[in-house]
Amino acid sequence: MEHYGEQTASGFLHVSAESKEPYAADVRARLHDDAQAIIARYPQARSALLPMLHLVQSVDGYITGRGVTFCAEELGLTEAEVSGVATFYTQFKRHPNGDYTVGVCTNTLCAIMGGDQIWDAVSEHLGLDHDETTADGKITLERIECNAACDFAPVVMVNWEFYDNQTPESTRRLVDDLRAGAEVRPTRGPNRQCTFKEMSRTLAGFADGLADEGVGAGPASLVGLKVAQDHDWTAPSATRQIDKAGE
């Protein structure tokens, strides 16, 4: 029968022999120190598993066999338990990922506003389908679900930074620039685009010092505030209420 799903699962966690090659001793030692820092944030060690899987991706670029073993060893879990968690979450990649995950939102709102056209354009431009990577290892293309920026539709994410109000043309240019190593900046994010591995280390909870870069709010986030300011609308005066309560 015909199959109507737009998105396919990435398949089972494929643990190639190569991905089981043990870490070099210095890498393993550094990973251990990082793991201890993560575990220390929680009352119970197992809570560290998701950030530790992000940590594995910051070193290997995906969830490797040795990464699964590392998590299991540090947390006293079985490899099956770690794999079971790793395969549940879409951000954990089951095969080597590109330097930049380009995610086109094709959930309903963005799709209708033009996300479908963006997807078609960039998919054709790169010759990639969902969760596939360019031969140069630069870009992995994904269809993504709603990323909570609907007022900036259509939205494209690069390594989970916001590129708001995109068009097919702007997205083609974006992927070309990323492949060429040209400077690109998220619309709401830091002043530069981090790589997949850099971003994964941040998600493991290690600050990268970029928090104070970029805007506080994009234009759409401020539309209501602007309307209120133009009309001199404010919340009811609180002081009067407090005075009343004090009477």
Binding site: E2, H3, Y4, G5, E6, Q7, R41, Y42, Q44, L50, P51, L53, G84, V85, F88, Y89, T90, Q91, T108, I112, M113, G114, D116, Q117, A121, E145, C146, A148, A149, C150, D151, A153, P154, M157, W160, G189, T202, A204, G205, A207, D208, A211, D212, G214, G216, A217, P219, A220, S221, L222, V223, G224, L225, A228, H231, W233, A235, P236, A238, Q241
Partner: protein, 435 residues
């Protein structure tokens, strides 16, 4: 006419809106000082008196949730903030945490004190790196200023806050799935009871609250429960952030008293784009049954929206004009639910898959009229029979779209395909037409 009430959004236009300095220049952490001088039970009463209902979708009274914790047994109790904002159309918590994260951090400190928690968690979805940076930075600044950590403001109260990034799973917005995920497991919902208030994180008493709920606590404390309750409607007190997206001239965030109707919000947003007509909309995300242009004057509060056949949800107002194919919209939402179903229970796992297959063939003109009954029958077997609200939510767009637009489904069958031009509903019809 209702006027907007910028409170949480008030200084989002400040060039450094997210910093501690900006927050402190805007009454920041004054509420915490006041809270620490109060009895914790008085804070719970204040939350109850304010009438604040959870801003994460379900609308459960926040103060009542706090009061469900059993009396202290000397062991740990936890506050977990649900910052997993992923419901399609919902886009309020992410800009709030990006622009003004200290509202949340101060709210966490006050709430933790109120419920006797010394270690709180913020579970943020993993797909918003810059928001994660902002939250980590805000926590760091708050520690350095003595708003978190040991002996806060000299009160003897200690609090640690851990910001935790998820890894991509809509289901983790369900509070018990979130707790499992925070414990390092697959994010699948738990059987209830026991509820988190009794056995939550690490099987300890736990309060799980939404970002906007907790962020509303400092202003409520500072200005009074009666100030808050003076806004909104009888069933739905206070203010909330309304998110307009889609075919409106100026999509964006509008902070207003609950009860404001879409007609007024649309006016403020410049109306439907290009003078076109409103066709359908969601009041609170894709899991809330669709409304049409017949519902423009429904007060957007919990009771009125429910009475009109939908749910207020997260005030995620996704607006679609007459160029939009409702079958295409619903088909894509169901693709989402199918993808995000955690697989734990059969009605949701199998049901969403079959809904997708049937909607797909109708959209492509391969279905039959019997398929409409089949969609309704499958929906009937999911609704109320699933483990959590994900399955229930998946049926909302299906059943409501068939209710209001049955003939449009049939038109797909008559024409052997979708009667709409997808470029007409996009923002750049001309560009794609020329490609």
């Amino acid at each position: 006419m209702t006027t907007l009430t910028p409170i949480l959004t008030r200084f989002w236009d400040h060039p450094q809106s997210w910093t501690l300095a900006t927050y402190e220049a805007n009454e920041g952490y004054q509420a915490l000082t006041r809270a620490l001088a109060m009895e914790p039970s008085a804070l719970v009463s204040m939350a109850k008196d304010s009438g604040l209902r959870g801003r994460g979708g379900a609308g459960f009274p926040t103060g009542m949730k706090w009061s469900f914790l059993p009396p202290s047994d000397g062991g740990p109790r936890y506050l977990v903030v649900n910052a997993d904002e992923s419901e399609p159309g919902t886009c309020k918590d992410i800009p709030l945490m990006m622009a003004a994260p200290h509202f949340l951090i101060e709210g966490v400190a006050i709430t933790s004190y109120a419920i006797g928690c010394n270690h709180a968690f913020i579970y943020l979805r993993g797909e918003v790196v810059h928001v994660y940076r902002r939250l980590m930075r805000a926590v760091e600044e708050a520690y350095a200023a003595g708003h978190l950590g040991k002996d806060i403001h000299g009160s003897g109260f200690d609090l640690d806050v851990t910001v935790h990034a998820g890894a991509g799973a809509y289901i983790c917005g369900e509070e018990t799935a979130l707790l499992d995920s925070l414990e390092g497991r697959r994010g699948q919902p738990r059987s209830k009871p026991p509820f988190p208030a009794v056995a939550g994180l690490y099987a300890r008493p736990t309060v799980v609250n939404n970002v906007e709920s907790i962020s509303s606590i400092p202003p409520i404390l500072l200005h009074g429960a009666s100030w808050f309750a003076g806004m909104g409607t009888e069933s739905s007190k206070g203010f909330g952030i309304f998110s307009l997206s889609g075919h409106v001239t100026n999509p964006g965030q509008f902070e207003a008293p609950l009860g404001i109707p879409l007609r007024e919000l649309l006016d403020m947003a410049g109306g439907i784009r290009g003078g076109k007509r409103l066709k359908f909309w969601t009041p609170g995300g894709s899991s809330t049954p669709l409304f049409t242009d017949a519902h423009l004057d429904v007060p957007l509060d919990f009771d009125a929206v429910a009475k009109a056949g939908s749910m207020l949800g997260t005030r995620a107002l996704q607006i679609f004009d007459e160029t939009t194919c409702v079958v295409r919209a619903v088909d894509r939402w169901i693709e989402f639910y199918k993808h995000e179903s955690c697989g734990k229970c059969t009605p949701c796992r199998e049901g969403t898959w079959w809904l997708k297959q049937i909607l797909g063939r109708i959209e492509h003109g391969h279905g039959t009229e019997d398929d409409l009954d089949k969609l309704l029958d499958i929906s009937d077997n999911i609704l109320g029979r699933s483990f959590c609200a994900l399955g229930d939510g998946a049926t909302s767009p299906v059943t409501s779209s068939i209710q209001y637009f049955r003939d449009e489904y049939l038109e797909h069958l008559r024409q052997g395909g979708c009667p709409f031009d997808r470029d007409a509903s996009s923002l750049f019809a001309k560009e794609t037409a020329s490609v």
